[in-house]
């Protein structure tokens, strides 16, 4: 399958994924086939002190890294582990996460992601490791 076809397939998969939609995320791929996740701010994304909850940063990192790696495989990849570093708090700002490939192996893939506010402020970074499976996308 060509990368552009896989990107279309990935976008369709994202469209069927309940959680990202529930949180208000949208997905596109940039010219380098990196996943870009946009998340407009909403009050329900916050923790008890009125800033975006760490779990939202983690969800963005996981999602951007996963799609950035997954678009290069014809089989399903499953997340083994991931980590997030929270750099600055965010209050009521829209967020964009962008993934980047670190290494695409036959069995293991790894990708990074960073999150910026609409103003371009870097607020979180992270990375994830994935295991390739034999489950083909349909």
């Amino acid at each position: 399958m060509e990368p552009a076809d896989r990107a279309a397939k990935m976008t369709a998969l994202f469209g069927r994924a309940p959680l990202p939609g529930h949180l208000g995320m949208s997905l596109r791929f940039d010219d380098d086939l990196r996943a870009v996740i946009d998340l407009p701010h909403a009050a329900f994304l916050d923790h008890g002190l009125g800033q975006v909850h760490g779990g939202i940063f983690a969800t963005l990192i996981d999602t951007a890294a996963w799609f950035t790696a997954a678009v290069h495989y014809d089989t399903w990849i499953s997340t083994i582990d991931f980590g997030v570093r929270l750099l600055e708090p965010v209050e009521a700002e829209d967020l964009t996460a962008v993934g980047s490939v670190v290494r695409l192996g036959k069995r293991i893939a790894t990708a990074d992601a960073e999150i910026r506010t609409a103003a371009g402020r870097l607020v979180a970074v992270g990375g994830a490791t994935f295991a390739n499976t034999s489950v083909r996308f349909t």
Copy 2:
């Protein structure tokens, strides 16, 4: 402030936190003052293949670790970083995350958390590091 009073204060803080409530999480402290987060399954928690999204595990780990550490401080602690290892996929099962203290320092705190299904199956583990701030709870 006594630990039991802080636990009550923390539970109130959790009650005001938008995201955990939005996802359906509830908080209690066990006899060892460890935060226990319950999350009944709901379809919107899933990724595109019908299993619980990695971001949910991360949110549970972050939340359980944070409250388990925070209940020991009179000041606000902010998450610096955290990591999650996803051990087994989860389909339509209720989840419970339990935190455990690793170290409570004057400036830095660190805690772990694990997630089990209602049947007791261990499905994810993680840990988080927090910086103590000078912001007092009110």
Copy 3:
């Protein structure tokens, strides 16, 4: 192969491993088949301010976690990633790292490890993820 036989094989493998020997580490397995790594302090283990270097903690975590997981497999496992949290500085104290299994899967294994001083002080914790390979031990 029986666990006790594998432990003997692992100990022999450790004996042939250049770096652990070079640093002064020794390996044994406790009754629960957890790898225990002892490292007597030596001046060359320190960083520029006279405390044990973070890389030594990482080497201990990686080694204790690896042997604790590897003893359960007949094939070689390779480290995918690992993380270390440094809790307290150490000056001129002997160290002991002990591993613990988190999950032993068919393809992926994960284990934790903690490091204590001879006096029992907890100074570092960490975890590692391993991929199982098809290379058999000989």
Copy 4:
């Protein structure tokens, strides 16, 4: 203090650090003030199967990230935690680690590092988080 002066001070500090010297590491700063650590291969760096030990990658990541961040502070920074992803095995190849700043905060700093072989092959990546202290360099 000017960055160039701090770089000179850092290089002197590195020269006094026992472990890096013991392992054969050398430090320089590139034009962007990023720490570059060179490590020629030696047999004692290997694990039992004749490849470079994971602890060496961790030590390189920790060291490159630490100096890349530390050169921007007049006070000592201490490593809170760090993680390493091992991408490819290395047999008898010289290694070079290069750090990069992620964020330099007043209290918390974070930096990444990557490790390549002399041939330019990317073999490991990682990141570290540091707490700033009030201890001034002398």
